[in-house]
């Protein structure tokens, strides 16, 4: 329990840090983004949006402390301002529409790549020769190319050249968003390329981490003892070596999630997949600062939530974290 409480405290601190960064960045940057943006709209901005914008940047009266409190209270009420690019929608509603797409796409592909990567890592750590000769160069190269470039290539070869998959979007334009077979089939079909891109690009990292942990655990006395008992190699590999090697790998999973999410955001843009990454791109190209900040907060929140889930899995797998003292 102590472990979980410590983690929860850490997430609260991180969330506070993200929220505060979000508050501080516009104020700390040189020049005044507010004026430059207002100038760019040349009077074509509604007084309502001007008010929201002014509020967002804390241009209103009051010292920095009272601005900060006002900002926090706005956040707590879910008031993230009005989006420019999706005007007159509120930033929150834009984010909530795109969140499920990202959550499913990145969630599913990350879990798949973690599972496959871990299994391959177990094998690679167990059969060292195979790993060194075959896998290392391939996974190193795949891990070094940008996710989004791999997405471009996949889109070009599989969607544009072979017409095997749709080039962009998340569902057919004719399909209504409803919870039925047609919609789910169309959504799954559209998700294959972006998800595949994320899986292929991120698998090497998990694999390498797991492989190195397998190498470490194999030298442990309990593995030697298992061998001495004459257990089957398969049993030793899975129940003795891998069972222990997976714990640090899971801890790394939580840490690395931020990197994967960063890559996945760009993949969404390549495929015009209507998730948070694509919305972030829209916000960036349209100087939609409220939306930009809102998406940043939401992505951070989602990553923290995923981290928490990884922690729960860790607690379930490692009895030591459940110690009560």
């Amino acid at each position: 329990m102590r472990y979980l409480i410590r983690r929860i405290l850490f997430y609260i601190v991180t969330l506070w840090a993200a929220v505060t960064l979000n508050f501080a960045i516009p104020r700390a940057m040189p020049g005044s983004p507010v004026e430059s943006v207002l100038a760019r709209f040349k009077g074509q901005i509604s007084p309502h949006a001007v008010a929201a914008f002014t509020k967002l940047f804390g241009l209103g009266s009051g010292g920095i402390v009272s601005q900060y409190w006002a900002y926090l209270s706005d956040l707590l009420h879910g008031n993230l301002g009005i989006s420019f690019s999706y005007y007159p929608s509120s930033t929150l509603s834009v984010i909530l529409t795109s969140l499920p797409w990202t959550a499913v796409l990145i969630g599913v592909s990350t879990v798949i790549s973690f599972v496959i990567g871990t299994v391959l890592g177990i094998l690679a750590g167990w059969r060292r020769k195979f790993w060194l000769d075959m896998m290392l160069p391939v996974t190193t190269f795949l891990g070094s190319i940008p996710f989004f470039w791999f997405g471009l290539l996949a889109a070009f070869l599989l969607a544009y050249r072979l017409h095997a998959f749709p080039l962009s979007g998340a569902v057919d334009s004719t399909t209504l968003i409803a919870f039925n077979g047609t919609f789910l089939a169309s959504a799954a079909y559209h998700a294959i390329l972006p998800a595949g891109t994320i899986v292929v690009s991120s698998i090497g990292g998990w694999m390498l981490g797991m492989r190195n942990m397998m190498v470490t655990t194999q030298a442990e006395d309990y593995v030697l003892m298992a061998e001495a008992k004459g257990l089957s190699p398969r049993r030793i590999m899975m129940s003795y070596a891998a069972r222990n090697a997976i714990l640090p790998s899971l801890a790394t999973f939580a840490m690395s999630l931020g990197f994967v999410v960063s890559g996945a955001i760009l993949v969404e843009i390549v495929f015009s997949y209507p998730g948070l990454g694509y919305v972030l791109f829209q916000a960036v190209t349209n100087d939609d600062f409220p939306l930009m900040q809102g998406v940043f907060l939401m992505i951070t929140l989602a990553v923290l939530a995923a981290n928490f889930l990884a922690d729960l899995a860790y607690v379930a797998l490692d009895p030591r974290t459940r110690a009560t003292n």
Binding site: G205, V261, T300
Partner: protein
């Protein structure tokens, strides 16, 4: 005076080992290959624009040509020479990568050394700070930062990347500093009245040589990938050529639908090759530090296990469960961000 000598094999010993026997580093094929490939790109970045005289931004009537003798990498929709763009772009991509990697590494060393050595509340605060920066996804933060930048030149982008990329290295360096600070030679330095600054930077830091080098390489990969991502989004100065800006123009001009694969393939391959070269150098260094990654372990099993236990115990004191035994691989295998 009974001094118990800890049999722990740690990175300090390994790096000292490497210092004594420089020949060992050359024997590592991975390190050598990686260095050569990286050096080639560095040379292209330095002398390339002096050798290739074609103006990468010049518009010509040769639009959308496939690669040929006249245009090695083909041309764009507006007749710009892709090869010239590539050579020109190598400079900014490599420069931003190396400089941002360097700044981020300096930050990691400062935070990691001070945290690991000072201990107590200072360490607690610095650890939480690095972990916060690790958990917050870097790219959205970079995007928000870059979005507010009034000037989107290479320097601003470099600074933004450095600010977001130091945390990983800081964690690794902190863990190693923790394992070094109670060693006899540090106690001796303290007893002889050396100042803290001197102990940190002249007694401890030299023993972290390989770890710092590894985190520098990791930071450069991160920086090159992030720069490519930012430029791809059009958040850097789109009129200066870099591998990322090439991809930005290719994407915004629908190179995909124009069947112009030569437009977007070279920058991606280049990023992949440079990244692999850096990763190979990192593996080479890992193998120096952790001989067990080379072949089946023999002599050092016991001591390596002890190191793992020590570090686990130290890490248990921090806010995050950390397994340093996996650190070298951790660093080399950290997934890219873009």
């Amino acid at each position: 005076m009974a001094v118990t000598i800890a049999p722990a094999m740690n990175a300090g010993d390994a790096s000292a080992d490497a210092d004594r026997r420089p020949g060992l580093s050359l024997r590592s094929g991975k390190l050598l290959t990686g260095t050569i490939v990286f050096a080639i790109f560095a040379i292209v970045a330095i002398v390339g624009p002096f050798v290739v005289h074609t103006d990468p931004s010049a518009l010509t009537s040769d639009t959308l040509q496939a690669p040929s003798g006249a245009h090695w990498f083909g041309t764009t929709q507006t007749g710009q020479d892709v090869f010239a763009q590539f050579i020109d772009g190598t400079r900014i991509s490599m420069l931003v990568g190396v400089v941002a990697g360097l700044i981020a590494t300096v930050l990691s060393v400062i935070v990691g050394l001070i945290g690991g050595y000072a201990g107590g509340i200072v360490d607690e605060v610095l650890s939480v700070l690095s972990n916060v920066f690790l958990v917050i996804p870097a790219l959205p933060l970079v995007i928000v930062l870059a979005g507010y930048l009034p000037n989107k030149g290479a320097l601003s982008v470099t600074i933004v990347i450095s600010i977001t990329g130091w945390a990983w290295g800081a964690r690794i360096i902190r863990a190693q500093t923790l394992s070094l600070r109670k060693r006899d030679f540090i106690e001796a330095a303290k007893a002889s009245g050396e100042g803290r600054f001197r102990i940190l930077f002249f007694d401890i830091m030299p023993h972290l040589g390989t770890i710092i080098a590894a985190s520098f390489l990791g930071n450069v990969i991160f920086a090159i990938l992030t720069q490519a991502g930012i430029a791809f989004l059009g958040l850097s100065d789109v009129s200066t050529w870099s591998w990322g800006t090439m991809l930005y123009w290719a994407q915004s001009n629908n190179a995909l639908l124009l069947n112009a694969w030569w437009w977007f393939v070279p920058p991606g391959i280049a990023i992949g090759i440079v990244g692999s070269a850096l990763a190979l150098m990192n593996f080479g260094i890992d193998e120096l530090v952790n001989p067990r990654l080379r072949t089946a372990g023999i002599a050092t099993r016991k001591s390596a296990r002890k190191l793992q236990r020590d570090i686990n115990r130290d890490a248990g004191a921090s806010a995050l469960q950390l397994d340093t035994a996996s650190l070298p691989g951790d660093n080399a295998g950290r997934p890219g961000s873009a």
